[in-house]
Symmetry: D3
Subunit: 201 residues, 6 copies
């Protein structure tokens, strides 16, 4: 396909200008998912556009971020749920099912994380995530202190802030351009697996 009309509400031309590094990256993503995620197709319409997005994403996923991949995905899914983004709950719902092997836990996080069985550390992290997304204006020292009390250091708190803020933007972009999820997301990682969530958290 040449544009994006079939996957979102805007028709963006594919500038076909990806450099070898970005081309390889896109191929790797398609292989990992088994299909080409629609958000990738949108960013891949232009080399700079894709690079800018991936640069930000890689910064958040850096090895020394202080957050585990599970924590990253929990923030991502709860942000998407808070912002009511259908694309992003489908995408990160699939990823969190993959991460945890627990469809019901994931369902709670995608609807109302407060009803899920969470460690105090996870609960504090997600309460903060919701506040960043919904009412950042009222964040005060007390809110950051709660994170410190459950063991997060300032560098980690920064990563929580940056991750939640990143998805606040990404969710809105997906919604603003009317990005539509592939039905494939809904089927991914549905087969039950040994839950490894607690061990990792």
């Amino acid at each position: 396909m040449d544009g994006t009309k079939d996957i979102c509400a805007l028709d963006l031309a594919d500038r076909k200008n990806l450099d070898p590094e970005m081309t390889a990256l896109v191929a790797g993503i398609e292989k990992k998912y088994g299909f080409m995620p629609h958000f990738v197709r949108v960013f891949a319409t232009d080399n700079q556009r894709l690079r800018a997005f991936m640069g930000q994403y890689m910064e958040l996923m850096r090895r020394d971020s202080g957050l585990t991949p599970l924590e990253h995905e929990m923030i991502a899914l709860v942000s998407a749920a808070t912002n009511g983004c259908v694309y992003c709950t489908a995408h990160h719902g699939a990823l969190l099912r993959g991460e945890t092997g627990d469809a019901l836990f994931t369902e709670y996080l995608s609807r109302n994380y407060r009803l899920a069985a969470l460690t105090p550390r996870q609960r504090a992290m997600l309460d903060f995530t919701v506040k960043v997304n919904r009412d950042a204006e009222s964040i005060a020292d007390e809110d950051r202190e709660v994170l410190r009390e459950v063991g997060f250091g300032d560098e980690q708190i920064y990563m929580i802030c940056a991750t939640a803020a990143f998805y606040a933007g990404a969710n809105r972009l997906a919604q603003a351009i009317g990005l539509r999820p592939s039905p494939r997301y809904l089927e991914m990682y549905r087969e039950p697996r040994p839950v490894r969530r607690r061990a990792k958290a």
Copy 2:
């Protein structure tokens, strides 16, 4: 100074790992403003962190974005006002005063853009900006159609979406880490200059 405790609510270590390109970029920003903006000091604590932010910013400001610098700054300031970010209204308020030479017009945009004298094109762009920031969940085809009716093409609409979404994230990050504005912002570009806003829009 070595950390960020004096400018925000988190104490982030300066990793002193900026490469020559980032070092030059930071020097250029300080020269342009006449002081080092606090948000730059935060990102400049780490090379990858700064690069990721600048990559995203440069993508939005690209020459062929289809939006003028004035339009970019209007979206930035109205996003900041919508999200109630004190740092970002100070920063982008200064930049919009610089862009327009009109302190009262800027004041309106930083408080209630609907009371400002705007072209239909600007008004539509800012209405959409507010919806991206405040209620992206309810954006529908009708909203994008309004932008097309005042002359924006799909590539430009994408840039409006991406710019508004970027500031939705950036504002929240500033608020989440408790970033404090320099008083210098409040004095910048206060001297009246010939208004060039209309001509450019």
Copy 3:
């Protein structure tokens, strides 16, 4: 099990007083679902309690209600989504997948029905459903007129009102007692089937 502590936040004694009709009804439900839905276990703690609930449900599902089972389920799921009820989105999500064979359509209705492909009649019905659940205070003649314009008669409008209001109550009851969904819901009717939604609507 003898109480309800394992499925909700309240421990209700099972009064073991179901009459033969209610006993048969419960058995039939368990057979239909392949497991005992938790909401049934709660109501079945007392004969009058179960009868009262089923009487109301049967009244809404009456053959001459003027609404199709698909329409009933769409109202049920959109109510649950509007009220943020995790139990009821799981339950009615499964039922709507069964009714439509379309997991993505169901996902839209469980998150943001406005993004789904709907007939004008379905859209009007669901807009009204949301208003009943979220802001019934502001319902005016104009709102009911919209339903008439897409072809609903007054008896049908009554059934829409009654169905939406019923789920407004049922969702809140499930939330107030902390009812927890079975993970089985999430797996039900996931296998793709020929979509029969449009034909029925």
Copy 4:
């Protein structure tokens, strides 16, 4: 009269199919009030419709519910006030004046129960009632614990949940169909009587 056009916004045919039990029940209600309440006229258009409503109502008013009639009416009126239902504040305002003989206490409950002189038990029950009606999504174990602390057992908490949820639905139904109150409600039980509220509570 043959339809319901004179008392609500929908014209529902009177199916004239009440069985003897329902016929007697309607006659009893008219006698008790001194006029036929409009909500009864609506439900009495069909035998099953009326039975379904009465079955639910009787379940809530059962002798062993654990709640007093005063408590039931307080929940009913505060639900109606929370949902802004003019019909239901008129109806349950009259009933609570009858129950308490205290027009000012009733006025407080119909506008802002937090300003009324309440026992801690009543206050906790009504705080919970408001949360069921307005924000059931955020009800957590802590909220139910508050009810236990003022002496409610789990069976009683269930009845509070069920009563508040029932009125959440009933208020919305009255609003959705545009049910209009009789002016007679406003005059009922206005004559001062010895207050028996405290003694009963």
Copy 5:
């Protein structure tokens, strides 16, 4: 009594410094109502305080205001209802019953004026009143134009603005000091009288 502890949440000393004009005014009010309204007792604790309030009130009630007493009271009651002020709905509810002789019409205005039978002029005036009280920030030229379209001139629109704004303040003052209504308000003007509302409007 010497202070205000029995009628509100603050204990204000009675400075006993009313001049003859204010003394006569207070006596006149008590005679008119048949009891001393509590808000008068609060303001009458000091001569300047009472004068300041009465000066503002008299300005709004001036003979050449362009609004009828009925229109003034409708604005007053709808403001009180919008702001949820129990004292002011009791006070202005009584006055509007007196003005109209119609308890049900008054009840609608005190709960949800949109359900009352209103002339287009009254409806426009009250829609504007609600916007002044609840969301003045979003008032635009279009809102004032609606008032002009139903026949209000600019001087009258000013009086609507000033009246609604006055009660926005007065309601909040009553709420902030915890002013309690006399039960006498609830009994005033309950006897039906020939309705003169329409004729006057």
Copy 6:
């Protein structure tokens, strides 16, 4: 100029009926500000109108009010910010800069006072101010108790209530009539001066 069309959205005739006292007062205000504030021009269209406003203002500024001018201005600015009034944030922003000599402190109060460095007494006063403006309905004894705990007596609490309520009304009036600020406000008191805020508070 003869009307008010150039400064607000309504065209009010200047009745040219100011008595000598009001004429002198207007002249004094113009001299103090260096220009005629637009709100004065509106009220000065009629003698009684101006008197009524000034009477209320003088009552709040009385020497024995128990509040300092700084406290008065802080309440005024935070009310304006809470209500989103562009005119009043410009006006009281200028006055608070004059009072404090601190543009950044003023900026915080005009956007988000919770981020400013405040004494516990100031913070309590401003929290209460926001509640009066935004949600007076939920003010309870606990809220007034917080004020007593930081040292305010009941007479002072009354003045906080009256001041906040006054600006709740004044802000809405300015917004309802579309009053436009003079750009002069934005330049006033920008030159840094020795901060005297703390000493006075």
